[in-house]
């Protein structure tokens, strides 16, 4: 199986991510696959090594899924790390992807969560169709 990201898919994803940034005032959003590959990113990530961030996020999320299973849950669908000025919010996008949102004091966790929940269904539909195309090959 391989995953094919066409220009059309990426345009749809980009529009979702762009919308997310403008309505939530987050600094950046990244969409990554659960094996650690970066699918798309939007916003301001000047000094961040996005490839490493993607790999570490997938690992972090994977470890959390195992913790969930130990506790009898299927998985934890969101994770939040709070720093002094930077915060990061991870949320599951269907079975195959994770959305990483980087934000600071300019906005609030509540608003970020609200915008993500409004967008995550559409995003998971796009991602699911992308992985489905790969599966058929």
């Amino acid at each position: 199986m391989n995953v094919v990201i066409t220009k059309k898919d990426l345009e749809k994803i980009d529009s979702c991510l762009g919308n997310m940034i403008s309505t939530s005032s987050a600094n950046a959003v990244l969409l990554i696959d659960r094996s650690g590959q970066l699918i798309a990113h939007h916003g301001d990530t000047p000094d961040i090594d996005t490839a490493s961030l993607a790999a570490l996020t997938a690992a972090n999320f994977g470890a959390t899924v195992e913790i969930a299973r130990l506790l009898g849950e299927e998985e934890f669908t969101l994770l939040f790390h709070k720093g002094r000025s930077e915060n990061v919010y991870f949320s599951a996008v269907g079975e195959n992807a994770i959305l990483v949102t980087l934000f600071d004091d300019k906005t609030s966790l509540g608003l970020v969560r609200l915008r993500i929940s409004q967008m995550v269904d559409e995003l998971s539909r796009i991602v699911a169709s992308m992985f489905e195309k790969g599966r058929k090959r």
């Binding site: 199986m1 391989n2 995953v3 094919v4 990201i5 066409t6 220009k7 898919d9 990426l10 345009e11 696959d33 659960r34 094996s35 650690g36 590959q37 970066l38 699918i39 090594d49 490839a51 490493s52 790999a55 570490l56 997938a58 690992a59 994977g62 470890a63 195992e66 195309k133 790969g134 090959r137």
Partner: protein
């Protein structure tokens, strides 16, 4: 599971260095990191314990150039070798496109090599991948210990133990000194790129674009 991004003309693949604890997987990556140009590689990320043992993985991304006008980016991962870290090994294997099995040439590690290879086959099988079809190369590491006080296994024994069924390309190496490290990387990259190109060509026929 390569990521083929037609919008950026880029293909991303994942290669995992697998093997028993202390066989030299991280050392392989460290050597590659130290000898590649900054423009072609990313940062090296390691999640390890204070005792320098890999806790989760090491990661190094490399740019391998172009095939059919598309940039090839590979991500090299290692896994923790210790037996009890099987859950993390499974996580790292997610979406793998090629494997380097690093075997420890030390005589005392003979059983651990075999156990680790069986563990690899089992973990791949759980993901629906056969060890016989995935791009795979074997590296016999620590050959520089030959002639020292540490007793090492002859090549014939290692080949018989690990490669008699698989019959994949194998290399002798000393990851610490660098011998064989790039030969191994070149071989696995070639196999992975060949595998991916085949898939891209199949897609061209289907005119996905």
């Amino acid at each position: 599971m390569p990521f083929i991004n037609f919008s950026k003309d880029e293909i991303q693949c994942k290669i995992v260095y697998y093997g028993p604890g202390f066989c030299g997987k991280t050392t392989n990556l460290q050597y590659i990191f130290s000898k590649t140009h900054e423009e072609t590689r990313g940062k090296m990320v390691s999640i390890d314990t204070k005792g320098d043992r890999t806790l989760f993985f090491d990661l190094l991304s490399l740019n391998l150039g172009k095939i059919r006008g598309m940039d090839i980016r590979v991500q090299l991962y290692t896994v923790p070798g210790q037996v009890h870290y099987d859950a993390t090994r499974k996580l790292v294997l997610k979406g793998v496109d090629g494997v380097v099995f690093v075997a420890d040439s030390l005589k005392v590690q003979r059983k651990k090599n075999i156990e680790s290879l069986i563990n690899l086959a089992k973990n791949l099988a759980e993901k629906g991948i056969s060890i016989r079809t995935i791009p795979l190369v074997i590296q016999y590491n620590k050959r520089d210990l030959d002639g020292t006080d540490s007793e090492i296994l002859p090549m014939e024994t290692l080949e018989k133990d690990l490669n008699s069924m698989l019959k994949v390309p194998s290399f002798t190496a000393s990851a610490l000194k660098g011998a064989g490290v790039f030969e191994t990387l070149r071989a696995i990259s070639k196999l992975v790129v060949k595998d991916v190109s085949r898939k891209v060509m199949m897609m061209d026929k289907q005119q996905v674009k």
